[in-house]
Amino acid sequence: MSVKFPLLLAALAAAAPHSARAEWAWNFPAPVTPLALDTLHVHNTFMAIALAIFVVVFAIMLYSIFTHRKSRGMEPATFTRPSTAAQVFWTTIPFLVFAFIDFILMGIPAYHSVVVMEDTRSDADMVVKVTGSQWKWQYEYPEEGIRFVSALATTPEQIADRAAKGEHYLLEVDHPLVLPVGKKVRILLTSTDVIHTWWVPQFGAKRDAIPGFIRETWARIERPGTYRGQCAELCGKGHGFMPVVVQAVAEPEYRLWVARQKGEQAAQAAGAERVWSRDELMKQGETVYGKVCAVCHQAQGQGIPGAFPALAGSKVVNGPALDRQGRLVKDGHLDRVMNGKPGTAMQAFKATLSDSEIAGVVTYERNSFGNKMGDAVQPAQVKALR
């Protein structure tokens, strides 16, 4: 045993994953907002208090365990409760100590932290709306009219160990949320399907995103940098693959970014006006399908029996998308994609996809996986239905 055990441990250590990024972190990551700094202080103080209580109480217990043993010839005492006034006094001590710790030593700083954490509104400089949906985040800047979706950038091959994992494995996205430093950002949260939780540890901000309700939190980022977090509420099979990445930049850089985003969105809107060719739509559709729909309906449209219907040969897909007047067919293909089906994992994609993306993916589905509808839906038609 004595020889085998360390050997076994060494073998396990060798088999264990070693990576440059693996680190033995013992505490919260470096705080970059006043809220996170405050939380760290509160946490450190409380942990110190808890540790002190632990040490004192169990030192007493250990002392007793080592001295009051039968093997040392102890004669057991017979007392069963405090009998003298002095003993009564001593027995009330733990009670008083805990009352003091709970409601004064810990209670007062905690009170102030809670009030600060909940004050999302006063002096807020800007608002960002965050919408969770299975399994990506959508960010919206209401004042600027900017809106985009932010999804995992790690590839399925990396997750399946078929490709090398990057430095920010699982904590990388295609479009990070960009925020200016030094501004108090009021973050409004909601969801389109199930409950998600938006969490960036270095901001000390974590709040649930609840379908049908708005919740809020705030952050005033003090240092430029890239900050990473994850969805923290179990939200289905993609729960572990729904990172939050925030890029904090100086104000001028932020303004530049805003201008660029606005330009891009204008170009996209113009795209919705013109008539697209079938090939353009199919290409657009294939990209969207791979990024958004394939997690559930699978790469070849075969679905997962019992959970996600097959699109190959589906009655809905192979039925009409629009009627002759260009109106939605209820429970038809386009209706299902734009408005989803409440109470199921199929969400209303009109909230997260642009006109050309919806037109593309619907056209693609109607003409792939063995479906041969031969028609196409134009972005302008989708736009008219919003």
């Binding site: 994953p17 102890m74 069963t80 009170y111 000390g204 049908g212 289905g236 019992g306």
Partner: protein, 530 residues
Amino acid sequence: MTTGELALHQAHAVPPRGWLRWLTTTNHKDIGTMYLVFSLAMFFVGGLMILLVRAELFRPGLQLMEPELFNQLIGVHALVMIFMALMPAATGFANWMIPLMIGAPDMALPRLNNWSFWLLPPAATLLLMPFVLALFGVGTGAVGTGWTLYAPLSVQDGMGMDFAIFAIHLLGISSVMGSINIIVTILNLRAPGMTLMKLPLFAWGWLLTAFMLVAVIPVLAGAVTMLLTDRHFGTHFFNAGGGGDPILFQHLFWFFGHPEVYIVLFPVWGFTPHILSAFARKPVYGYRAQVYAFWVIGVLSVIVWGHHIMTSGLSTAGLLYFMYSTMAISLPLSVLFFCWIATLWRGAMTFEAPMLFALGMIVLFGVGGLTGLVLADAAADAQYHHSYFVVAHFHYTLFAGGIMGIMAGAYFWLPKMTGHLYSEKLAQWHFWLTAVAFNLTFLPQFFLGLAGMPRRIPDYALQFADFNWVSSVGAFFLGAAQLLFLVNVVKCIRGGPPAGDKPWEGAQGLEWTLPSPPPRHTFQTRPVGE
């Protein structure tokens, strides 16, 4: 006595043999044994599930399973451990020991008792069957929402959810019936002279557990029924689109879920002083204080549920209320700790396995309790919540406080129940391996949580890799260590040195006045009270 009556009486006295005996028994010792065996089996089922999970988490990337199966395993692990391992173990001890401790001939409602137990195997079947069905291509597997079943994820989930809902209903009915039985037994069948304030602490702990169960299980049953109708009958309790509220489910769930912690722990805290007193050879210290502390914790337990949902957007006032009320639990809890340590103080201690497990329980549960105090702080909780910090915390309370406590009870009473002594050497190994492996498994999880690893993810970022493999290694040692317990129990049932009426020198109480194992019927004439 007519011949008919005589035949009836004899039929009662001579139980049927084979499996019929177990199916039809109304004997509290038989039923207690069935509860304990069921619990032990389920402990290994739940343990196996989580070892699969820890194997997947051994290193980054997905190697063994798809995320769907991962989500099912973690949730079913929790449901199995809480409802089918911990609770039945406590009920098994109650069945066996409460009548012996209070001098009752049996439980007050023996037929109900039989039914309470026999609802459990169907419940387990319902919960686990979807795993098997999925193998045959039916459905998508078991419930995949985690044990908390939060709507709307649980509205979306596959048919495993419906199976879980009915399993929970059966478990709930079983618990409520078991609780009513225990309450009625304790209140009506005590030996003459045993006033409530002379009741053994184990019975007190169970009395309060039973009251809590009767109070909160119906709320859980209501919540999952609302879920069922939301899923299939077009109601919108948890759907904002129809005027409902997803957070309503969380309130209902945790109104049950928080007391559930004490439901599991009170029976353990009840017999802990018996064990401490037996091995310190000294009377229990602060009997009254402990009874009052139970009452205070029992009452507090139903008014603090909000601390489980502090990131869901409670109002500032709500956060402060739940924070302070939760912190207040530390007051009665400090009384319990004080009494436990005072029971040891100036005793003449020896350290057989029950004592070791009881002491280990106290120290490690101390870690769980103190981190609970820190978690109560609503501002810092925003960082801890939904992270591995919470996972570590509740395993220090439920594994250390719950399972290790149950182990203490098992070693304490095995000689009484079987009439044989267990192997002390094996038991000592079991304790030390469990204690070390437990900390190896769960201590790193505190740090993972602080570093920002969310719970319930099947794959993780590279910076979490080191602590995760340590935790996985610890988990496998922890699982392996429990096999020693299994071996020891089986050996002890089969044979071993005779235990005698009172195998523990310092043990106190009526149960130790009986032979080991006690005859099938005990206290048919009431014992004379002190």
